[in-house]
Every structure is written in structure tokens, then in C-alpha cells.
Subunit: 613 residues, 2 copies
């Protein structure tokens, strides 16, 4: 109590100790007065701290007997929660919650929602808590008791100070007990780790199939999509209706909706990808290491990909196409607003995958497993591809050790050199900003050579941009020259009808500006002077660098890559718009006739490049 008192005092909170015994609860007057006492204390902002009055209590070991009303702090708390009609009972333990086995066993998993029917015979309890009577068995018993009587209970760790706040914020920590829990969860939660392992097994079987059979699977899926169009549409309409009812934004509802003809177009896209040259097993390099010893570097699937995508259910089909074509296994985690659409699309696709491969090639994570938990599976997932907002991408990048393919920022520049064809410059600037301002490849900053600063061209383009509704901000030079408000930062993606303008001395100043403030996504120069253009193309250190073309071309489809996985601003593995290639890695295949190394004396190395032959 001294500790409680001291700790609460530090927070300027007063606490009050209430020592009770079994016998007190046998007195109806006490039970009546109890609620009033607690209410009065709370009204005075005094925290009541209950404990058994050990000095007065006559309880003896074994503490838990049938005559007791409570027998430890766990059952006391459940009793009090019921008496006081609490909204929620939080039990703090020395572990994160209830585990499927002893918490010290790495195989044990935290149970997020306790379902009596499912868990009561499954769980092996560990040792008792090292502090006090009780332990997890007592906590679970008390929790089940309170939950059945209508008081939700959460068991969580008392070691993290913020856990109580997290519980009150509705975050998913600890173990929840609720009388309706059995109605919420599917009877058998499929574990994401198991899904990843199964997806890898299936992908290995897929990869082992002859190229023609892999192609046929995709054609079968395409047919199945069309054959089940009606059912898919029904489920999609249900999602759309639910989203409308829930008052989601119109743009989200629009992204959710599978327009008429969309399923046919998805099926056709699947067929196009099926008819691509087989990307697996391509020989990228062939070297004769020594007589009769031939080394090949061949393309090969990465393994298991986790795709996190927001609303669009069509993304599921596109990504599945690319994954199957490239021989990878997939875990898909879609937005909950597209739940029914995703489920039916997933069902149709996986049912069309033959048993020789296995439908678990593509796992749809529909359980309550959240993204942070999936991101921990770095031993069974090889690559994460987030498809959604900048925020989603940066959040995922910052919270996983799994490589992430994607881009957070798209701060694209257009630099207009003094040698530019000014009519061309005007068209490119307008297209780069106006064609789709929310696109990651839209222009955010316009850099203009200083010799153009006092020309009519700059005034004209400003008028043009403003006419199109673009709000203009300036760097230090442009804002004073053109009398426009100053941009707060050059490293800023508007993603809307707004852009920054700045005047630069020459192409080298433009290059420095872009390398310093850009996001290495896509940058373009408009210039007729080819030496200037070459310097720009060589020295701008971005994934895509353009000459006399709009930044909007930076896109997988426009680049001719077929379906697009995403645009990568990472420098490792894949950069810029990424198609099937980004889902492949390599393997080295060496074919010999018994060669050994023996201190490099056993063979005579030739290292002859046979790639071209």
C-alpha cells in the first residue's frame, strides 16, 4: 500500500485502501454500501485499492475452498467487478496474457480472445505467478466467471505502464474474455505462420511443374473468374452496400466497386500474363568455369510474398496473377471493407489451382491477425509489398525486418533548361502536374533556369497552372520574384493540385537540388542542349530520369512491364516501376562431371562467357 500510495502521489492522485474479508460480503448491508463508498471515492477522484484484510481474515491454506466467496486477489477483483457493475475488469499479470502453453515455451502463442469451448481443454498452464497467490489458472477462472456474468475482462501484463491505457483505447493487447466471444471468431483460427509455410510448399510444387502446366493454371483461373462472375458481383455489392451504410468516403466506395466488365478485364489480364514468356528458369548468364563445368545463373521465384492492400479488390487478382506467373507463394491481407469481395475472389482463384500445387499457394489472411503480427514473420516471408497510402508504406517500412518493395514519397521534379523548347516545356509541365495530381509520379516541384525567370514563358505557365486550379508556392528566389507564398519545405509531396516553383542557376544546381530534396522517384529535364540533358540523365540519382517527357510515364503499364507490382524507391533489389522481374531472384546452377576443388589445383579455370551463345 505504501508503494501504491507513493506512486499515485507522484501523479497527484490520492488513493485509499479498503481491506475486506469474505465475511464482509456475506453481509447484505455491506454490499449495498460498497457501491456507494466506491462511487463517492471516485467522485472525489480517489482511487480505491482493495485487498484482503489479512490481519483479520481467518482464511487458511488451502486458500481456495468451496466455502469461500473469494480466495485470492483475482477472484476478489471479479467479485468486486460484479458487485460494482464495472464496465471492464483489467487483470494485470507478469506475462502478456493467456498463452496456449507455458509462456516461457517459444511455441506458446498468446491467445487474443478466449473462447471457452475452444480453449478450455487446449491450454497448458505454466507455473504460478512468482508474486502472490493466484497465478494464471486463478485469473482465467475469475475472468470466465466475470465474463459469463456480463463483465468483459482483459488479462494483460502489468510490467508495461501504458498497457492500461492501450486497453482503454481498444488496442489489441492481452487476452479478452467476453460472453459473446464464441460468436465473433471463426471456430479455427488459421495461423499466419502456418499459412506462410504452406504457401512456400505450394510454390515449390508450382515451380516444379512444366511451364505449360503453370500457364494452364492461370488460364483456368481466368475462366473460373468469368464463370463465377455473378457470385463475385453479389459479394462485391454486399461490400459496397455495407461501405455506403457505414458512411465511407465516396472515393473509397468507388475503389471498392467492381465495375461492369471489370471481371472480364481481370480475367483477360490474367490470360495476358499467362501468355508472357515464362519468367522462371531464364538463363541470365552462362559461364564455362573449366572444361565440362558449366555455371548458369537462372531466374527463380523469391519465395513467399506478403501483400498488404487497401480497399481495391481487383488488386487481389492482379497480384495473384503476377505471383503465380513468377512461381511465388502469397499471403494477402486486404482491407476489411472489401472482406466479402476478397473472400469470394480468393475462393474462386484457389479452387482453380490443382491439388498437385495446392490452394494454399495463396493465403488470404482473414483472421484477426493484424499487420504488425504479420510483419514479424521475417523467417517465413521474403518480401512485403504494401499497396496503398504513403502512410501505410512508411508505417510498414519502419516496423519490419522483411525487405519492403514500395515507395513512401513521390517528390518528382521537372527542370526547364534555358535551352528548352518552351512550348514542349509548357505541355510537359501541365501534364506532369494536371494529368493525375494524386499520382506518385506527378510533378511536385518545377525548377526553372534563371535565364527564363524574366521571360514571358514563366508568367504564362503560372497563369496556365492557376487556370487549372493549381496552388503555387515558391522557393526563396521564386517566391520573391513571382510574388507567391513561400513553400514550407522543398521535400514535400502535395499529392494534389499544388506545386512548388524555384529558380536555379543551371542544370548542375538543378541536379543538386533534386538529389538533396527529392525522393529519388522520377525527375525530368526539358532541354534541347544534349550535353545539358546528358549531365542530368547521368547525375540525377533517381529511380527514373527522363528527358523531354512527362514524369507521368513512370508506371509499370506505360513502361511495358505488364501488370505493376508497385514503384520502388529503394535502391536494393528493384527500382522504379516493378513488374514480374521484381518478384524474381536468381539461383546458380552448376553442372559438372565430377570436378573437385582440391585447393584449386584440381581444375584449370577458363571462365569463358557462354551467355551469348
Amino acid at each position: 500500500m505504501a508503494i501504491y500510495d507513493s506512486l499515485f502521489s507522484q501523479l497527484d492522485v490520492t488513493s485509499a485502501q479498503l481491506l475486506v474479508t469474505d465475511n464482509d460480503f456475506r453481509d447484505r448491508d455491506f454490499r449495498k454500501q460498497l457501491t456507494e463508498t466506491v462511487k463517492s471515492l471516485l467522485a472525489l477522484k480517489v482511487i480505491p485499492v482493495f485487498n484482503e484484510n489479512d490481519a483479520v481474515s481467518t482464511r487458511k491454506a488451502p486458500y481456495e475452498d468451496s466455502s469461500g466467496i473469494f480466495w485470492d486477489n483475482d477472484s476478489l477483483s471479479a467479485l468486486l467487478a460484479l458487485e460494482l457493475k464495472a464496465d471492464l475488469l483489467v487483470l494485470l499479470s507478469d506475462v502478456e496474457g493467456l498463452y496456449s502453453g507455458p509462456p516461457s515455451d517459444p511455441e506458446s502463442k498468446l491467445i487474443h480472445t478466449y473462447i471457452k469451448e475452444k480453449h478450455q481443454n487446449e491450454i497448458t498452464f505454466g507455473d504460478k505467478s512468482r508474486v502472490g497467490r493466484g497465478g494464471m489458472t486463478a485469473k482465467v477462472k475469475a475472468s470466465v466467471h466475470a465474463a459469463e456474468a456480463g463483465i468483459p475482462v482483459i488479462i494483460t501484463s502489468g510490467y508495461a505502464a501504458e498497457n492500461i491505457i492501450k486497453v482503454l483505447q481498444g488496442q489489441r493487447i492481452g487476452t479478452l474474455f467476453h460472453k459473446d466471444a464464441h460468436k465473433w471468431a471463426p471456430v479455427k483460427e488459421v495461423d499466419a505462420r502456418e499459412m506462410a509455410v504452406a504457401a512456400r510448399d505450394c510454390s515449390r510444387r508450382l515451380q516444379a511443374l512444366p511451364s505449360e502446366e503453370r500457364k494452364q493454371i492461370m488460364l483456368n483461373i481466368a475462366d473460373a473468374l468469368e464463370a463465377n462472375e455473378k457470385e463475385i458481383r453479389t459479394e462485391n455489392e454486399a461490400d459496397v452496400a455495407a461501405a455506403q451504410e457505414a458512411g465511407y468516403e465516396k472515393s473509397l466506395v468507388a475503389r471498392l466497386f467492381l465495375k461492369p466488365g471489370k471481371i472480364t478485364s481481370l480475367a483477360n489480364n490474367m490470360r495476358t500474363i499467362a501468355n508472357m514468356d515464362d519468367p522462371i528458369g531464364r538463363v541470365l548468364k552462362r559461364t564455362e568455369l573449366a572444361d565440362g563445368l558449366i555455371l548458369e545463373k537462372i531466374s527463380s521465384p523469391i519465395g513467399v510474398l506478403l501483400i498488404v492492400f487497401e480497399s481495391r479488390p481487383d488488386a487481389l487478382v492482379q497480384i495473384a496473377s503476377l505471383a503465380i506467373r513468377s512461381g511465388n507463394g502469397l499471403l494477402l491481407k486486404g482491407g476489411k471493407e472489401a472482406k466479402r469481395s476478397n473472400a469470394i475472389l480468393h475462393k474462386v482463384i484457389t479452387e482453380a489451382i490443382p491439388d498437385t500445387v495446392g490452394g494454399k499457394l495463396i493465403g488470404l489472411v482473414t483472421t484477426r491477425a493484424e499487420i504488425p503480427e504479420l510483419l514479424k514473420l521475417d523467417d517465413v516471408i521474403d518480401l512485403v509489398i504494401p499497396r496503398g497510402s504513403n502512410q501505410l508504406v512508411s508505417q510498414i517500412k519502419s516496423s519490419t525486418k522483411i525487405p519492403v518493395l514500395g515507395h513512401a514519397d513521390g517528390i518528382c521534379h521537372v527542370y526547364i533548361d534555358k535551352s528548352a523548347n518552351l512550348e514542349m516545356a509548357r505541355r510537359i509541365v501541365l501534364d506532369a502536374k494536371i494529368d493525375y495530381p494524386a499520382g506518385c509520379n506527378a510533378m511536385e516541384t518545377l525548377l526553372v533556369h534563371k535565364d527564363l525567370a524574366d521571360k514571358n514563358w514563366l508568367n504564362d505557365i503560372i497563369v496556365d497552372l492557376r487556370t487549372e486550379g493549381v496552388t503555387l508556392y515558391g522557393g526563396p528566389k521564386a517566391s520573391s520574384l513571382l510574388n507567391i507564398p513561400q513553400a514550407r519545405s522543398f521535400h514535400h509531396e502535395y499529392s494534389s493540385l499544388a506545386c512548388t516553383i524555384e529558380i536555379v542557376d543551371d542544370v548542375y544546381a538543378a541536379i543538386d537540388h533534386i538529389n538533396l530534396y527529392g525522393s529519388a522517384h522520377t525527375d525530368s529535364i526539358v532541354a534541347e542542349d544534349h550535353e545539358v540533358a546528358d549531365a542530368f540523365l547521368r547525375q540525377v540519382d533517381s529511380a527514373a530520369v527522363f528527358h523531354n517527357a512527362s514524369t507521368r510515364f513512370s508506371d509499370g503499364a506505360r513502361f511495358g512491364l505488364g501488370a505493376e507490382v508497385g514503384i520502388s524507391t529503394s535502391r536494393i533489389h528493384a527500382r522504379g516501376p516493378v513488374g514480374v522481374d521484381g518478384l524474381l531472384t536468381t539461383r546458380w546452377i552448376l553442372k559438372g562431371s565430377g570436378q573437385i576443388v582440391d585447393g584449386d589445383k584440381a581444375v584449370s579455370y577458363t571462365h569463358r562467357d557462354l551467355t551469348a551463345t
Copy 2:
């Protein structure tokens, strides 16, 4: 005191409060008795807790005046440390230590070692601690006072319970004050972040140079290495002598030593790499997107690499060669035992780099900046390449968000099919295990088809392996059949003259075994049946898969890649033995004549592959 008492009690530690005032310290008898009191308490395992006796103290605001002996808990602690001749004074604050500016400012850096001459005029102090009198100014004053009198002081955060233990373990946390600190550190610590930024700038200038000039730089470095051989050798000998004196292992001293002829061979290797085809700017793919709109995918440096290498100073030169050839900037962090060798090699190499590029292209991290700090610089370092023990690699992999190129485990298998040429199988097994048992490409597990289990061949190979000194362990089947001890785990790298043997039903069982227990490094099949071999080559999911060849061929030099950066078991970016290619990424270059997208109506896409032309 109630809190101290309670908290210590929970740990079964008794504490005792000692309330003191300024006046007590003016009494010589008290000061004499003080040490005895504390010693007696400590002998009884009682922790003395000192505080000012506020109820008795006559101190008034302003608390710090010239008449005081102490004026807050910070100066009281310094006073006590001196009186008691403490080994170390630890001051716990609400921040991690002393920062170069207000700790809330993200620009502020934690000062690991306080050097009065350097820091006293540099630091801006933040607000006072929210708890109690004092604050950082008082702590620093007290620390400097104690340190100058010979008591080392560490200021660290009191919020992390384990900090005191970390301090006692000598871990580098908080800020250290020591009277000799100015002798330890270089006068100006170069900041690793600044080094990374400078390396990127230099790499961009390097990349902008014509191919011939980049080649010439490497040839100049090669000449400089030979011209400075004597000086390099002197420094290397000093390292070797110091390592011998310090009693380092012989193998480490051997790796440290630059053998006669080594410098010439390093210079020649540098020349060979200089004469390679320029790896930068190679056109990997060329596509006509539309009339007059040509897209190229070209090879391009990654940016800034961090290489962490152990003892071998020759690694510095090899890695510098590859980095310069591939246009990357470098941060090098070598082992402290090779300090002088690394410093002179770094000096010779960077002095040969022209000012148009800048010697900061290659930064040698010689300050006390530790690896964990470098690994945090994920915004300025693009790739980490650890060169050293498995332990180093896994430690780095588990503690950074920067992509890591390397491998932790090399659990390589050789599978002998029933169709094998048995004499060939014998040679390959012996080479794979014996040629260099510590190599990551050495065989750890021998899998044998069940039809060979009762043949003489298996008995003969066991005799051969034992004759070579190999200790054998068996899987469940092999251990009972061959009467050898059971292996504890199939996922085990011996890295020594030991290996596991197991009997498998057929090639598919071998494939499953390897995919389940291997480390996806290098695996080999010995078989004459080509269908069996093909299944193995197709389905074993490892970086390198061999047929009728020793696993020992898995090596950059043997693969003909020139110098080797390392062997990657990661599935992303680069896989298997990695040469210059692994230090490159790609950029997309689009050359147009004013094309815009305009909702994809403005151009008509052709997507014609021009790569072969």
C-alpha cells in the same frame, strides 16, 4: 524513502536512509565516521540512501551559493564519491546522458565521452529536470568536479532499469567523465553520418566521370599501393607485433599479416578490376514505349555501402577496388587489431583519389563510433556487407533496418543418388568436406540413397572420412544402421572436420530434407540419372545447386566474378557468390521528344523490345 524501501524490499535488499546537511560535512569527525558507517552498512548488505535532511537544513533559495559544500543531490553525490573514494559515480537522469543541445532537439547528439576542452563551450543545456533541483548543468558541474579529482562518472538514464548493470559491464551508454578523457579521443571526432553523406557526394562525382578516368583512378591507386609498400609494411608489422604481445590467437595474427608479395598482388588485383568492362551505365533493357520515346534500364551504383570487416587488412583494399569500380561510396569499419594497417592503406588509397572526386569517397570509421551506431544510419547507408564470422553477420542482420548482404549459415549438403558414379561420389564428398572444412561452402550433411546403405561404398566413405580426421554423426536412420552417434540437429554448421550422414528414400526425400534443414547456401547431387539430377536442380531452393561437382566451387573467384563481396543467402537483390553486380542497382532512363501522358490518350504505346538491337 518509502519507495526506495519498498522497491529494495521486493528484491530482498535492505536500505537505510542517511539524512545529511552541509554542516555535517564541516565536522571532521563526521567525515571520518562517514566512510566507516557506509562500509559497515555495505558489509551488512544494506544500501545506504543519502539525502539532504530537508527538515533540518537551513538552506534557502537560491540553493547554489558560494558558502555551500553541496547544494543539490548531484553535488552531494560527487561529494560523497570523493569522501568515500568510490570506484565510480553513476548519476541517473531523465535523459540518456549529456547531449550537444536540448535532448528534445533531434539535431542534438549524445556525447559519449565528455572532454572539457572540447565540450564546455559547445553544449547548449536544456531545461532543468522536471524532478527535483539540479538538472543537467548541475550534473555536469558535479561530474567534472568528481572526474578531475579522480572519480570516473557516468551520467545515464534512470528510466531503464538495466542501465546501472550495463554501466558496470562496461557497455557504452550515457556520458562518461574521466580525468584522462582528453587523451583518448581524437581532437575532432568525425561523425559517421557526415562521413556517409560525404561518401555519397563523392560517389556522385565519381559516377559523373568518364569511364576512362574512373579506370585511371584505380590504376593510380594500384601504383600508390606499390610505391608506399614500405610504409604499409611498417604499420602492418606494428599491428602484428601488438597483436602478438596482446596474446591474440595465432590464426588471427596470421590473418592480420600482409605476407611478402601481398601488396603487389593487391595492386594487381586492383588493376584487373580496373580493366574489367565498365559495370556502370550498361544498358540492361531497351524498349520503345511509343514513337520517339525510348526507355533504357541501365546499371547504376547503389550509393553508400558500409563494410564491417574483421582482422584482414587486405579486405580493405579488395573492397575499395570493387566499390570504386562500381561507383559506390564506402564506409569501412575494421577490426581494432588492424588499426594501423587499415589507417595507412586508407590514407594511401584516398590520397590517390583526385580532388574532382574527393578522398571522402572512402571513409574509415576510426572514432569510437561503434557498429550499433553505424547500423542506425539507414537513411544515409544503403547496404551493409559484413565480412567476418557467422556471429558478426547474424548480429548485424538482427539489429539494422539497412539491407544486409551476406550469409549467416552455410549448411551445405551433398546427396548421393543410387545412380551415382560411386568413385566420383567419393571424390566429391571428400573434397566437399576436407578441402577447407571451415569454409561456408564445405559439406555439413551427406545424404545417401537407401539403396547404397548396405553397399560397401558407404562403409568405404566412412573409413575415408575418418581417416581424414572427420567426426561423424548420424540422422535417426544412419546412426542406428552405421552405429555412429546421433546428430543433435540437422540444421547445424560444424565448420570443422565433422559431418552428419543420413539415409534418404530417394531424390525427393533429399530435396525435402535440404529445403527443410538447409540454409539455402549450396547443395550438390551426384547422379548419372539425368531426370533425377534435373529434379534436384529444379527443386532445391538454394542460392547454388550443383550436379556432379563439389560444393567448394561456390565462390566468387571460382565462379569467375573477379573479387568477391561475399556470399548471400538472402533471397532479395543478390544471391550466392556476389561480385561487382551485387553492388549495382538500376536506373530507368527515358528519352523523348516532348511526349505527355494526358490520360494515356496522347501517345500510342508500341512497347517494342529493342534490347537485342
